[in-house]
Amino acid sequence: MGTTVEQFPPYRGGDDHGHEHHAHHDPGFWRTYIFSTDHKIIGIQYGFTALCFMLFGFFLMLLMRWQIAHPGQPVPFIGPLLEQILGPTMAGKGAISPDLYNSFGAMHGTIMVFLAVVPLAFAAFGNYVVPLMIGAPDMAFPRVNMASYQAYVLGGVVMLVSFFIPGGAAQAGWTSYSPLATSIPTHGQAFWLVGMVLLITSSLLGAVNFIATIIQLRAPGMTWMRLPFFVWAQFVTAFLLLLAFPPLEAAGIMQLMDNLAHTSFFLPTGLAIGGHLAHVSGGGSPLLWQHLFWFLGHPEVYVLILPAMGIVCEILANNTRKPIWGYKSLVYSALAIGFLSFIVWAHHMYLTGMGTKIATFFQATTMIISIPSVIILTCLLISLWGGSIRFNTPMLFVLGFLPMFGIGGLTGLPLGLAPSDIYLHDTYYVIAHFHYVVAPGTIFALFAGIYYWFPKMTGRMMNEFWGRVHFWGSFVFMNVVFLPMFAQGMEGMLRRMADGGVNYSAARVPGALATLPDTIMEMHTWILWGAMALGLAQIPFIINLFWSIKHGEEAKSDNPWDSTTLEWQTPTPPPHGNFATPPRICRGPYEYSVPGHAADFTPQNEPDVPVAAPKISPAPAGH
């Protein structure tokens, strides 16, 4: 890489101390890969760490699915290991205890949302791609960027350590509702809160950095309406993180006080724990926690989905070889989502006994926010119309994203309306709904992004055949896992039951209207096998990812997908400082198949074709 850097002099404003730069070129292994301030390395660090956490979160889910399908039976292979590591109270004889199930449930959610999907979608792709796309040499604050990654790792470590403390990790769900979160006898909750404060710090630093970078470091000519939609999506996401996370931080500090300093922010007067009056001063409000949590929690949903939509939009335009339909509608919809996502949070709380007037307000805003989401999806769908589509792996994942996110979004409507939500609340229907949005939705877009930008990061392509195996395996088994959950939920199967509903179903309580039918209970087994197969389908991806770094087919050029956006108009991999010459942007992001052009794509930095100047004929002689 050192030679590449020599070839491409760094981007800089003045030449006043240019001679110093040669001294910086070989910073050594630690500064290059561990304590790097280069946005591309930090992006890859984020991506790698987040993928590891995603795999870990997936394993937690596999263990839970085993417990749900075979309650109380020892986990095959891993059971004895669990007992050895976590002790007989947690995993006696290799079977998962209800406490352990609860902590797996809480940590699966926490890890997947805060340690896997957001860092991958926002921090990893955002870090790597956004500065390249806007023509910037790096992020606005490279050292803050490094600090952001370090805070993230530290937060992840604190979360992981909490599994091994006496009493185990947090058990109150990823939502950590008080007073439950304060009354479970484990310090896992305190670890969870400290971990969350670190993760919030990390995303705060990241968000400030992203917004400042996008506002300040756009290359000359990169006007707001020439930004690729991915950049817009990251811009709105950064604002959501910036403004929605601090209230959760405030709530986290207060719950930490409740846990450690024995205050009563969220503990009501007369709270009884285990049949005894709790020794607390009381006067707190459990609802206050829910409000503060969901004030983050709902914008967080859009933090998960907006970057995914951005990735989908880039890959879709590139592989349909035509401009995105309705670029401006996409941008304004993303902005509208950003604003509206702050006033819908209480639709998670219809069952808390809020008045019908308040419920009406939140139902209305919830229905309104679905409009921009539908506009975005519609624009993306219409963009397919009349395109000559290239069906490569990234495009397959994108095409998988569209209907899967559609299912996830549409099944959310009954949850946004109080009358139907009161029935569906806390059932597997909710689980199915939000997993359709995040798992075959966002995660498919993330896979697409990895396959798409891999050649820019390494100069090599990922294997196409195994990419297709990965896609079809994931596509089929995602649906095997999540589709039955809609049926289970509508039958009334509740979430968060450590035995998969066996006791609930077996309780032939006199006067109870119905129990869960056997067909519903049998679905647990299908889901278990579906989840195992889904795990197997990821193996080709993992091997493909690492194998292709060294042995993949070499990319045919710096721009193997014939793309228009700026990140492909750099050397591969982009050197420190990114661009060989400071780019100047002349056109919008999606100029594919422009009539009259030789190639079917026109890069954003390609100068306008000079119009042949009309020849001035010399004055005829003898005039």
Partner: protein
């Protein structure tokens, strides 16, 4: 490689990078303290009528601290002006004042915390409550001594806005008579929980701001010789943070001390 607009403002936005960064950071700080103040409002509105404490804090000390912070805002501004007009000696003087004022604030705050920490509410076996500052608590002796008074009902302790008529004195209480004693820490009631959390977080911000200003005043001042423009920007950015922290106190003071 150099990041553009790290020192000079970008022509179309009219602002340099760090300044936009600090304003964004302050936006998130507004949301952080906004959430805490919302918690205050919700918990206070939801409190049992007549059981919300009034007049528990020393208004004189609070007023002094308000003035101290207001003064430090002025010296921060003057320090920045001194940098802008390239008068480094003045900068050093004004920011020395800022640091001293911050230290004064923290000392007064510490004294107030201590005052609450040694303030005990002691429930006696005969149903009365002894309330006051702990003077003697030797584990070898079978009594404790407080400087305070007896009340018959906990409700009598809530409203202390009118101090007239409250007689205090040294009270010696045998340990055998004590049913339960608890100091005025954050666990004592919701008001104190809010007081300690809000002012504690604010004090941490004061501490953080002081460290940054202290760095610029001390080891960080080397930059003045190499890049005065950038140094001035740093003073401005840290000053913006300091003004925000002052502003938070302007809200905390009436909310906690005066109502």
């Amino acid at each position: 490689m150099e990041i553009p607009y790290a020192v000079q403002p970008r022509p179309d936005t009219g602002i340099y990078n760090a300044k936009i960064g600090i304003w964004l950071f302050l936006m998130s700080e507004v949301m952080l303290f906004g959430a805490l103040f919302s918690a205050y409002v919700l918990l206070r509105v939801g409190a049992v009528p007549g059981e919300w404490p009034h007049g528990w804090l020393n208004v004189t000390l609070g007023t002094i601290n308000t003035l101290v912070l207001a003064l430090s805002a002025i010296t921060t501004l003057l320090a920045w002006v001194a940098c802008k007009t390239r008068q480094f000696a003045k900068f050093k003087f004004f920011h020395a004042c800022t640091l001293l004022l911050a230290l004064t604030f923290l000392c007064i705050k510490g004294y107030e915390y201590h005052d609450k920490w040694i303030h005990y509410e002691i429930q006696l076996t005969d149903g009365r409550i002894a309330d006051g500052h702990l003077r003697e608590n030797n584990p070898k002796e079978d009594y404790v001594v407080i400087e305070g008074r007896y009340v018959t009902d906990e409700k009598d302790l809530y409203d202390l806005r009118v101090q007239k008529g409250i007689q205090t004195g040294e009270i010696k209480i045998p340990r055998a008579q004590i049913k339960e004693m608890e100091n005025y820490g954050p666990w004592h009631n919701t008001y104190l929980a809010l007081y300690f959390t809000l002012t504690g977080l604010h004090a941490l911000h004061i501490l953080g701001g002081s460290i940054v200003i202290g760095y610029l005043w001390g080891p960080g001042r080397r930059m003045w010789k190499t890049d005065p423009e950038r140094f001035t920007n740093r003073v401005e950015v840290s000053g913006l943070f300091w003004h925000f922290v002052d502003l938070v106190w302007i809200f905390l003071f009436p909310v906690l001390y005066l109502t």
